[in-house]
Symmetry: C2
Subunit: 246 residues, 2 copies
């Protein structure tokens, strides 16, 4: 092993350059906040937690955490989601990185927002209780802390866009679902009424659904056919970039 001085001396050129770039740079706290969408067959919902510490104690907030060292952002988002909801293997997508100076009054924090789609029915209620968590319709969600309202707006807008590029929404529905449910989901996301017949024919043209020989008898006397999606064709569709205009 060389003595320190010699080592430093031999590397002096690189060291100086690195000092100018890497070491002189400031490090910051990197947070990850998750917008968790769910669907209850009626409204599009988000899962919020009530903060039990200052500042903003008692206010509603997105679910968040900090990026750990040696952790990739996607993993951090997954970890946070799992921590609050018990869910894993969930559709998540990075949304945007927010960096306003005073967005977090406690300390300068940059936040990378993710959004996730989960099925409300599968959700273990123990978790929600543990964390003072609660589902809210996006139409009457409370005011959120920091810039979380802004994040939510971004997320909704991204989700709307996603409906046109991916057969999203299956993430939000149970394994078996009716056409009606699917339509209501899209209506909730886009917040507009859709025509029943047009909707069905467009969805069918995607060719990713399997009509089951089974009916859901809860919603009507006649009963409505249940569908499930064809996983193979679904994956295929994720690859080519189609456009779906609803």
């Amino acid at each position: 092993m060389k003595p320190l001085w010699k080592f430093l001396y031999l590397h002096r050129k690189n060291l100086f350059k690195m000092l100018n770039t890497y070491s002189s740079a400031d490090k910051v706290l990197l947070a990850v906040d998750c917008i968790i969408f769910g669907f209850d067959n009626e409204d599009l919902k988000i899962l919020l937690v009530k903060r039990d510490f200052e500042p903003e104690k008692g206010k509603w907030s997105l679910m968040g955490g900090f990026l750990k060292k040696d952790e990739v952002l996607n993993d951090a988002a997954t970890r946070i989601l799992d921590h609050y909801t018990g869910f894993n293997d969930i559709y998540m997508e990075q949304l945007y990185t927010f960096s306003e100076i005073d967005r977090d009054p406690v300390e300068r924090t940059i936040s990378v927002a993710y959004y996730a789609l989960i099925n409300v029915k599968n959700h273990n209620e123990d978790f929600t209780e543990n964390f003072n968590a609660q589902w809210f319709s996006i139409t009457d969600a409370p005011k959120l802390i920091f810039d979380h309202d802004n994040m939510l707006r971004h997320a909704i807008s991204r989700l709307r866009y996603r409906t046109s590029t991916k057969p999203i929404g299956f993430e939000l529905l149970p394994e078996k679902f009716t056409m009606r449910q699917l339509q209501k989901l899209y209506e909730a996301i886009l917040s507009k009424k859709l025509d029943k017949r047009n909707f069905i024919s467009k969805i069918n043209s995607l060719d990713i659904l399997i009509k089951l020989n089974e009916k859901d008898m809860l919603s009507s006397r006649k009963g409505s056919y249940l569908y499930t999606f064809d996983k193979d064709k679904y994956e295929e569709k994720l690859l080519d970039n189609f456009v779906l205009n609803l």
Copy 2:
């Protein structure tokens, strides 16, 4: 000026950190990398710099820098762009945040990528020379350091998508331009040939161009009319979300 040994000694802590694998418990280095698109009436280009320090010395790289404390990401991106090109007041958009553990071998660094659109002709060549910078066609760009190739792919794909939602491209053209130039720009971005007549009628339907009483005589004997864009109508279009299918 301190003697070298003293300088090295005083910085030994940082130096050792830099030389070893880095891990800071909570805070991380946040880089900003810029994909700078330009257009030279023929190809879509990107501006790259040749690194003059290790690691990856001599390789081509995107323009980057680190986020400063008390600086917003957008400002950092603008600062970096200005630093390398002398441009300010440029269209920039945040792209995505990259966080692979080993994306930067020197130290754990999270990078927020931005892309910018500038007009090659306005570009001050002094800057490019100072920084060993060079324009490359996106079709024959060299291999880039770290995950910059991946960033570039993302940027191109975002840019393509943008053509359908914003009247982009005026950022990339000179004040006055011909229909032909505009078409070539879109062709370069989408990397496909477009039909002259269809293109013109679609662009005209946007109603954001002003046809000038002036011809560009350089490209042909007959000369072609110059256009400029109607700033007011252009701003208007940015607000409502139109869709342009080319």
